[in-house]
């Protein structure tokens, strides 16, 4: 079997990971020791399919304007600029299935992290300088900006309890992950598997 390598190395204090194989990806579903409550959960979702779609009218096709994001079934679709859309497929088929060549598959190129839980905003405020909760706008929000010198994309899911996803180039994945760990020092941060993330999402998002 062809194995895949994760871009992010987990520190040993995270616990002993339990992995499932998903399309060749070693996906940490949970850690052996029970995790319990945490201030902020940090979950590696880098195995999820991702793409950039570029075509005239693609933003209007998805009914998005720059800076906005929305759910389209299992996928988050965001608009960074006119004629561009970003797709983060959080729960569909693991093999990317993009309709045509206007899509460029970025699954391999971007690391994707979930940051969620009561202290998630405090964590993001240590990573990002841009306002992630503008007063005048309550929908999911897409922001392209820098974090500690790394170019990142962030979606504020605008879930009931705070939740974000953050993406950056694979070659900076470990750097971003470590920046998250530093930012979470005082926030009771836990590294979790995907079970906790999807559990939280199912509870909080619908």
């Amino acid at each position: 079997m062809i194995t895949r390598a994760r871009a992010v190395q987990l520190p040993s204090w995270a616990g002993k990971p339990v992995e499932a194989e998903l399309g060749g990806w070693p996906v940490v579903t949970h850690f052996e020791a029970a995790t319990g409550a945490c201030g902020v959960g940090l979950t590696d979702l880098s195995h999820r399919p991702k793409a950039i779609a570029q075509a005239q009218g693609i933003d209007t096709h998805f009914a998005l304007t720059p800076g906005r994001a929305k759910w389209d079934g299992q996928s988050l679709i965001a608009c960074p600029k006119p004629a561009h859309a970003i797709i983060f497929d959080l729960n569909g088929a693991i093999e990317p299935q993009w309709p045509d060549s206007t899509y460029t598959d970025m699954t391999e190129g971007w690391v994707l992290l979930g940051i969620w839980g009561p202290e998630a905003l405090g964590m993001m405020q240590r990573l990002i300088t841009v306002d992630l909760e503008p007063r005048t706008f309550n929908e999911p929000l897409y922001v392209a900006t820098g974090s500690h010198g790394i170019r990142v994309q962030v979606i504020n899911l605008r879930t009931q309890s705070p939740g974000f996803i953050i993406a950056c180039a694979r070659s900076h994945g470990q750097n971003l992950f470590e920046a998250c760990l530093r930012a979470g020092t005082q926030l009771n941060l836990k590294i979790t598997g995907t079970d906790d993330f999807y559990g939280w999402l199912a509870n909080d998002c619908k």
Binding site: P66, G67, P80, K81, P82, H84, T129, V130, V143, A144, T145, G146, R151
Partner: protein
């Protein structure tokens, strides 16, 4: 005051999210001579006041933005 670059896609952002692309200049025509090219390449108006300039939003959307900025006060106005 408030030196922020207005990115049409991302909104007002800190100038350090951008790469400065210099003052907007007209490239010499096809028949331009060497002196015209050298003047274009090396010499600048270098305005103390309003000038048209390029900024590339490298930490954001990745678009070039044309900005009219006062280089003394950093006031930014519409084209």
């Amino acid at each position: 005051m408030a030196f922020l670059i207005d990115c049409p896609n991302c909104g007002r952002r800190n100038p350090y999210e951008f790469r400065f692309g210099g003052e907007c200049k007209e490239a010499p025509g096809p028949d331009a001579d060497l002196n015209t090219w050298c003047e274009y390449l090396y010499f600048n108006e270098n305005m103390s006041g309003f000038q048209q300039e390029w900024w590339y939003h490298n930490m954001g959307c990745g678009d070039w933005v044309k900005v009219r900025r006062n280089t003394v006060t950093h006031e930014i106005t519409e084209d």
